[in-house]
Amino acid sequence: MPRISKQAQLQQQFVDTTQSTLLIAETYLKKFHNNIDEAVEQYYKDSEKDSEYDISKFDKKLLKLYQIYQDPSDYGKINIEGTMKYLQDLGIEPEDLESLTLAYLLDSNKIGIFEQVNFLKFWSHYKINDIKKMYSFIKKIHQQIINQDITKVWLIKKNEEEEINFKDVYEYTFSGLLEGDNQNKLDYELSIDYWKLLIPVLINKHNQKFNKSIKDQINIRLNQWYEFLENDYKQSISRDKWNMFYLFVQDIIIPDPINLSEYDEMAAWPTIMDEYILYLRDNELLK
């Protein structure tokens, strides 16, 4: 008899009972620490709430589209290869910000992977079932997010329309980049890559308020931040630091990039910000 882990057995049992997918089984079992009775009970409760999640009820064309990208070994999700193809078909480069917006909208647990249920629910909600319309939809929402203060979007998790802004996408990015459950910090190199992608949007939101030379100053400070991380700090980035950096850029760097006069060492900034300021002073980059 092949050795099957206890986890896998429970998942199979869950699927057999509920006729759902392995992915759902995994999610619910995790939530209830492998207590299968509670997990199943909760699953039924949830299913009553959104009874529309029955694959057969979805638009056939949408289902067909999904099947192009689904993971051949687990129909419950689109794996990284599927995602690459999906993005290619949409005409989005993986390193485009649109891919983050898409991952955020489809509530992807991990960037690069889409869950079947989220894919179907989201596009059904907007009654979209072909790739071209998907692209123009994403493009439209994305432009709103990066240009406006607030955008209204239907969120899978909430099952209703919510007002969101760019900061939500920014904070989601951290979660989407974490590998597995035990990781709670990002390597600073990876963080820097994504900051380079995300922070310019934040700056552009303030674009009208300042001229080019100030914009250059802001970029100098940002580059100093990256240098500080690479040469001096060299530690991984926690969620707190990630989230607070957004505020640091918005409240400290953008208002006065030359003197950073809004910075108050008595305020509650994480120490990484204090150390950055110290680094600037030590290297005579800041008065």
Partner: protein
């Protein structure tokens, strides 16, 4: 003396008594006193008048006292109104006459007349005693506040007729006299005191005649007196300081203060004393505190403790003036300490240069100062100023605090302890070394005689990083304990006790546990003494985490078969006694002595060896030659460790290595053969000293790591405790609550607290809210 007048006739009665009254008040020309007969007849006439009237009035109440007709239920009206009014008018006339008398000096005249008048007034009051007691009292009881007993009436009349019209001139003359006295002229102080006293008598509370009242004294005299005093001394002190130095000025102040207190005691009311002193303190001391403060530094430089005491006593009259002085002292002590340590640094550097002409420059900034000299310099500096605080500041708490602050500063921050701004303070390390020097065996008594626990405790009190001291001290204590090099158990324990009292039992808990382990191990030793070949077998069982020792995997030796039984006995004994605890051998600590029979002259050698060396030599009891690989296999441990401990045997020619050479040593098939005839001048050979140690630098890193870790835990625990009770708290409040809690251990910086906060946020113990606020996550 004429016969008494008819008691019912007021006019006759008054005419009868008036000449007597003149005598009593001394207003007749004869200037004589009243005779007893005259006094008695006046008294009787008035008495009769009052008695008679009261009787007749009670018979025909409707005739008199018309203003009280409503009061008909009141059985009678006392007579007296007519008499009282007449007396009032009479007194007015008498006093107007007095004033019209010719006089040269108002004050002298006033005092003379006052003295006579007040005597008369008291007699007069007695003459009218019956009226006082009946009519006056009744009137006052009925609420009339403008009727007084006769003595008071006399004073009131004096106040209106004599004092009021002349007040300004009179008070002016009194103050003039006081000024003359201040200018050291001789004046008639009787005039001052009588005039001033008269003002007290003239203060009458119409509501309650018996209550003393200083209203006239205060308004007419005291206020002006205080103003003049201020003006006088403002001028005098400025003039004086312009021409004299501060010490002379202080002496002048003392004299002036004494004089004024004396004057105040002699003829001023107690009420004035407090205000007078305030006035004097302001114009003599507070207004010139700056000059005194400025002079303080030159006084202390010349060690003029008497003058400083004088300054302290003067300034302490105005307590707020002491604060800048205490601050000056604090800064001065720090600045002197800076100079002293700079001197010490250059002296020691010179000494080092002299001793070794070789120009090997020490690390930049770091000076190796003799520990004892350093610690004793700290103490000497502290003691010197403790003497100053005692002698010149009467041990005033403010100055004790200034000394404490300064000591805390120079103990933790001086050019020797921390050569650069950011370098870590070495005082905890040096203080622990100081302790080790006098606690361990082997030092010369001459050197350690003056090194005491008292000294240690003085410096300890001021250490910021007490946790670091604990770490160094504990490591050295551990070495003393396991190598049995402690000079006296009693001394060790008493010092531990003192550290515990000064800080906390938590602070010394690890060391206390170490002593307990030593005692338990002594029991163990006596129980397993008789098993096996090793004499004086002394295994120690030490609790992990309490002792600064770690198990080292590279020292996993294999016990030689001959010793196995004895070593196993330890485990067996231990397991029986303490079930569930795991023992690990720390082979890198401990020493062994071997007796060796390796001489043809039948000399018996004693070899002092490490544990790996012990196992190596034991193997040669079986066989006289091994390859490297064989021997390593028997002894165990990592290759490096094995090689390190093998080396000294080759160096000291106890083992013959073939092929020779350092590079061949660690090769698998290099062979080692034990000599049969060992040659050595000494019978005791120490092979331990020659082991190339690589562990010295590690220890400091280890200490820093341990201290950092403990601090982080301490801060986190602190924060969690606060968050638990407060639920949400502002960042600054949290920092301000945490910092004081660390003082007994170390001086936490804000950044340390923030790092602990970062850590707790990452671990989901708390989270950020808006506005620099944190929330506890339970």
């Amino acid at each position: 003396m004429a016969a008494l007048p008819p008691s019912a006739d007021f006019k006759k009665t008054w005419n009868f008594v008036q000449p007597g009254l003149d005598f009593i008040l001394g207003t007749n020309d004869e200037q004589e006193g009243v005779t007893a007969v005259m006094y008695m007849s006046c008294y009787t006439a008035i008495y009769n008048y009052c008695i008679n009237k009261s009787r007749s009035v009670s018979l025909i109440p409707s005739i008199i006292g018309g203003n009280r007709s409503s009061d008909s239920n009141n059985s009678y009206v006392l007579p007296g109104a007519e008499l009282y009014n007449k007396l009032d008018k009479y007194l007015t006339k008498v006093l107007k006459d007095v004033l019209s008398e010719k006089h040269d000096n108002l004050l002298e005249f006033y005092v003379k007349k006052w003295t006579r008048y007040t005597i008369g007034a008291r007699y007069l009051s007695n003459v009218f005693e019956y009226m006082n007691r009946h009519w006056v009292q009744k009137e006052r009881q009925d609420g009339r506040r403008d009727v007084y007993d006769v003595n008071t009436l006399c004073l009131m009349k004096w106040r209106e007729e004599v004092f009021k019209p002349n007040e300004k001139q009179l008070i002016g003359q009194v103050l003039e006299l006081i000024k003359k006295q201040r200018d050291n002229e001789i004046v008639d102080t009787y005039l001052i005191s009588t005039a001033v006293k008269s003002l007290v008598f003239l203060g009458i509370d119409v509501q309650d005649l018996k209550k003393p009242n200083l209203v006239v004294y205060i308004n007419s005299f005291e206020k002006k007196f205080l103003t003049e005093t201020t003006e006088y001394y403002q001028k005098e002190s400025s003039d004086f300081l312009a021409k004299n130095n501060v010490v002379d000025y202080m002496q002048k102040c003392e004299t002036r203060l004494n004089e004024e207190v004396l004057r105040s005691n002699n003829f001023l009311e107690e009420h004035t004393k407090k205000h007078l002193l305030e006035t004097l303190n302001k114009s003599l001391i507070e207004d010139h505190a700056q000059e005194m403060h400025d002079y303080f530094i030159s006084l202390i430089k010349q060690n003029e403790l008497d003058h400083i005491l004088r300054m302290y006593k003067l300034l302490s009259r105005v307590p707020k003036c002491l604060d800048p002085l205490a601050l000056s002292l604090e800064n001065y002590i720090i600045q002197q300490a800076d100079e002293k340590f700079k001197e010490l640094k250059s002296e020691s550097e010179k000494l080092v240069e002299d001793q070794s002409k070789v120009k090997s420059k020490p690390k930049r900034g770091v000076t190796n100062v003799d520990t004892k000299t350093y610690i004793h310099t700290l103490i000497a500096h502290h003691d010197k100023y403790q003497g100053v605080v005692f002698k010149a500041f009467a041990n005033d708490p403010k100055f004790i605090k200034a000394l404490d602050n300064a000591s805390r500063h120079f103990v933790n921050k001086n050019i020797i302890a921390s050569p650069t701004e950011r370098s870590k303070c070495r005082t905890p390390e040096l203080l622990a070394k100081y302790a080790d020097t006098f606690l361990k065996k082997g030092g010369k008594d001459v050197d350690t005689m003056d090194m005491t626990a008292d000294n240690l405790m003085i410096v300890f009190k001021f250490l910021n990083d007490k946790d670091q001291f604990e770490n160094y001290y504990r490591r050295q204590l551990a070495k003393r304990l396991i190598t049995d090099t402690s000079k006296s158990e009693e001394l060790e324990e008493s010092l531990l006790q003192r550290l515990q009292v000064e800080n906390s039992s938590e602070y010394t808990s690890k060391m206390t546990r170490m002593f307990a382990d030593m005692k338990t191990s002594a029991d163990l030793k006596s129980n397993i003494r008789d098993f096996g070949p090793v004499k004086d077998f002394n295994p120690l069982i030490l609790a992990q985490n309490m002792w600064p020792f770690d198990y080292k995997e590279e020292y996993n030796l294999k016990v030689a078969p001959q010793l196995e039984e004895q070593f196993n006995k330890v485990l067996e004994y231990h397991d029986n006694k303490y079930n569930g605890r795991q023992l690990k051998w720390l082979w890198h600590h401990g020493r062994a002595e071997l007796k060796a029979n390796l001489s043809k002259k039948s000399q018996k050698f004693t070899f002092i060896v490490s544990n790996p060396q012990l196992m190596i030599l034991m193997a040669f009891n079986e066989k006289s030659s091994y390859t490297f690989e064989e021997l390593h296999e028997i002894v165990g441990g990592s290759k490096n460790v094995f090689e390190m401990h093998l080396q000294p045997f080759v160096t000291y020619k106890l083992l013959i290595q073939t092929p020779e050479g350092e590079s061949a040593m660690g090769k698998e098939d290099t062979s080692f053969k034990i000599v049969e005839d060992y040659k050595s001048k000494k019978l005791r050979v120490n092979f331990v000293g020659a082991i190339k140690s690589i562990e010295t630098k590690e220890e400091e890193d280890e200490i820093n790591k341990e201290v950092d870790e403990t601090r982080k835990n301490f801060l986190s625990a602190c924060i969690v405790r606060i968050m638990k009770s407060r639920k949400t708290i502002k960042h600054n409040d949290l920092v301000n609550e945490v910092l004081p809690q660390t003082v007994s251990r170390f001086q936490a910086r804000v950044i340390d607290v923030k790092k602990a906060i970062d850590y707790l946020i990452d671990k989901d113990y708390m989270k950020r809210l808006e506005n620099n606020t944190y929330q506890y996550i339970s």
